[in-house]
């Protein structure tokens, strides 16, 4: 429809930029794409400014706040002691949930949840479990008796595109910030958590004294690109996602091996070269994200 409405009527000269952007969003974008520049001033392959702060939620065992431009994600991990299942007596459990509360976007209202939230939830779970980021055996405390139930909750505080990428980064960062609480065995054989204050006056044996951090194997990172004609736009905003509907998400691990690739339909059929380009963009992005994560971690150690 926008094609037919292109400025041939002579309206465009008189119209203000903002109004034009709203009325003919696609042509507005296409004009920018001709100059290889996006309305917010980014080149096509560049991601938005990314920031990360660890330990944003003090009541959680591990947490991270991530911003990709205006997209904001808060991930927090809570550990609870549970009895492992009979099938896998020396493995813990992982529960990942992605939430989109009403504050994140005008389209979400109480009683009318976002359709995309459970989809992203599932994708996150797939990416984290299949990448082998967490070794579930490490979550075991006492074989057959006690293990950690790990709840990872990711809240989207502001939804402005590339939700999966930001959520995955937040979850990964929260895992690297995670510090496992100390536990000890009570007389009745029950596992109780020991908080920092009464650490000194508990004579009881601590179960996990030297296992406070999880070893993170191959960390997954991702990049979502919008495909439109021959253009590839990395890290799209919500506006870009809604105008150009073909999305392609690549998930790579830290050694650039492909974990997963999503292309949920869309009008653009991706050629081999396009997919290859997306992967190479993602490789670059992985390096950026790795650097941001290691900087945040080393900052924390200094403090």
């Amino acid at each position: 429809m926008a094609e037919t409405a292109t400025g041939k009527t002579g309206m465009e000269g008189e119209m203000e930029v903002d109004a034009y952007r709203r009325l003919f969003p696609l042509t507005f974008y296409e004009r920018h794409l001709l100059d290889s520049l996006r309305p917010d001033g980014r080149p096509l392959s560049r991601s938005r400014h990314t920031s990360l702060s660890l330990g944003a939620v003090s009541s959680a065992d591990g947490s991270a706040l991530v911003k990709f431009g205006d997209t904001t994600m808060l991930a927090a991990i809570k550990l609870e002691v549970m009895t492992p299942s009979k099938e896998s007596p020396d493995e813990g459990c992982l529960g990942i949930e992605f939430h989109m509360p009403p504050i994140c976007s005008p389209i979400v209202r109480p009683g009318k949840p976002a359709e995309i939230a459970p989809v992203i939830s599932k994708q996150l779970e797939d990416a984290i479990l299949s990448s082998g980021l967490i070794n579930l055996k490490e979550l075991s405390l006492i074989s057959g008796k006690a293990a950690w139930m790990t709840y990872v909750d990711i809240y989207c505080l502001n939804a402005d595109g590339s939700l999966f990428d930001a959520a995955l980064f937040a979850a990964v960062a929260a895992f690297s910030h995670l510090e496992i609480p100390l536990v000890s065995l009570s007389e009745g054989g029950r596992v109780i958590t020991v908080s920092g204050e009464n650490l000194d006056n508990t004579a009881k044996e601590l179960v996990n004294k030297d296992k406070r951090k999880l070893t993170l194997h191959s960390i997954p990172f991702s990049l979502t690109c919008v495909l439109h004609k021959n253009y590839i736009l990395a890290d799209p905003t919500a506006e870009e996602e809604s105008i150009m509907e073909t999305l392609l998400t690549v998930v790579l691990d830290s050694s650039s091996q492909l974990i997963s690739l999503y292309k949920p339909g869309g009008s653009v059929l991706a050629f081999k070269t396009m997919v290859q380009d997306c992967i190479s963009y993602t490789r670059k992005r992985v390096k950026e994200l790795q650097k941001i994560l290691s900087e945040a971690l080393s900052d924390m150690e200094i403090d």
Binding site: S59, K78, P102, I103, Y151
Partner: protein, 173 residues
């Protein structure tokens, strides 16, 4: 929805699953939502936006006691930030009574042991109370004492909120 020649206010409070010490215990938010609605309703000039609803959504990231007063003050700041016409900003403070002592701005632990509680929301520069709740047993003198304590705290909090808004407005320009 029915036609209305004044604006409507809709409030909703939710808790994150990690906000409380035991996962997923952020309950009674329906009651909180109703109380938030009452605290704010009196401060907004609803006549200034007929046929329109203003949604106030609050998300509690971490709960450490005195949740409701913080939510109310925060929501009022957000309304001001959104440019909604108001008579005045609403600041809110709660007091817990343990034994004979009044404790202002109680933590969760103090709230768990409270004998009585007192919550006030007011518009400081108009000296008007928009919301007031009280539980437990109180003598009139004690109510008086708590009221004075809270009103004073509300006006101080109101000053801080005001300067925060001014700062935000000046950095925008």
């Amino acid at each position: 929805m029915m036609y209305s020649d004044i604006g409507r206010l809709n409030c909703n409070i939710s808790y994150t699953t990690f906000s409380t010490s035991i996962r997923g215990q952020g309950s009674d938010n329906k009651e909180f939502s109703a109380m938030l609605h009452k605290a704010l309703e009196g401060s907004i000039i609803l006549e200034s936006f007929p046929k329109t609803t203003v949604d106030v959504f609050a998300l509690v990231l971490e709960s450490g006691g005195s949740d409701l007063p913080v939510i109310i003050s925060c929501a009022s700041l957000a309304l001001a930030d959104a440019g909604i016409m108001m008579y005045d900003i609403v600041s809110s403070v709660s007091v817990t009574c343990i034994g004979k002592n009044l404790i202002i701005d109680p933590t969760s632990e103090e709230e768990d042991h409270q004998d009585a509680s007192f919550l006030i929301s007011c518009m400081p520069s108009r000296n008007e109370v928009t919301q007031l709740t009280l539980t437990g047993e109180w003598t009139t003198a004690k109510v008086h004492e708590a009221m004075e304590l809270c009103i004073d705290a509300c006006s101080k909090l109101g000053d801080i909120m005001r300067s925060c808004l001014k700062e935000a407005a000046s950095t925008l320009q």
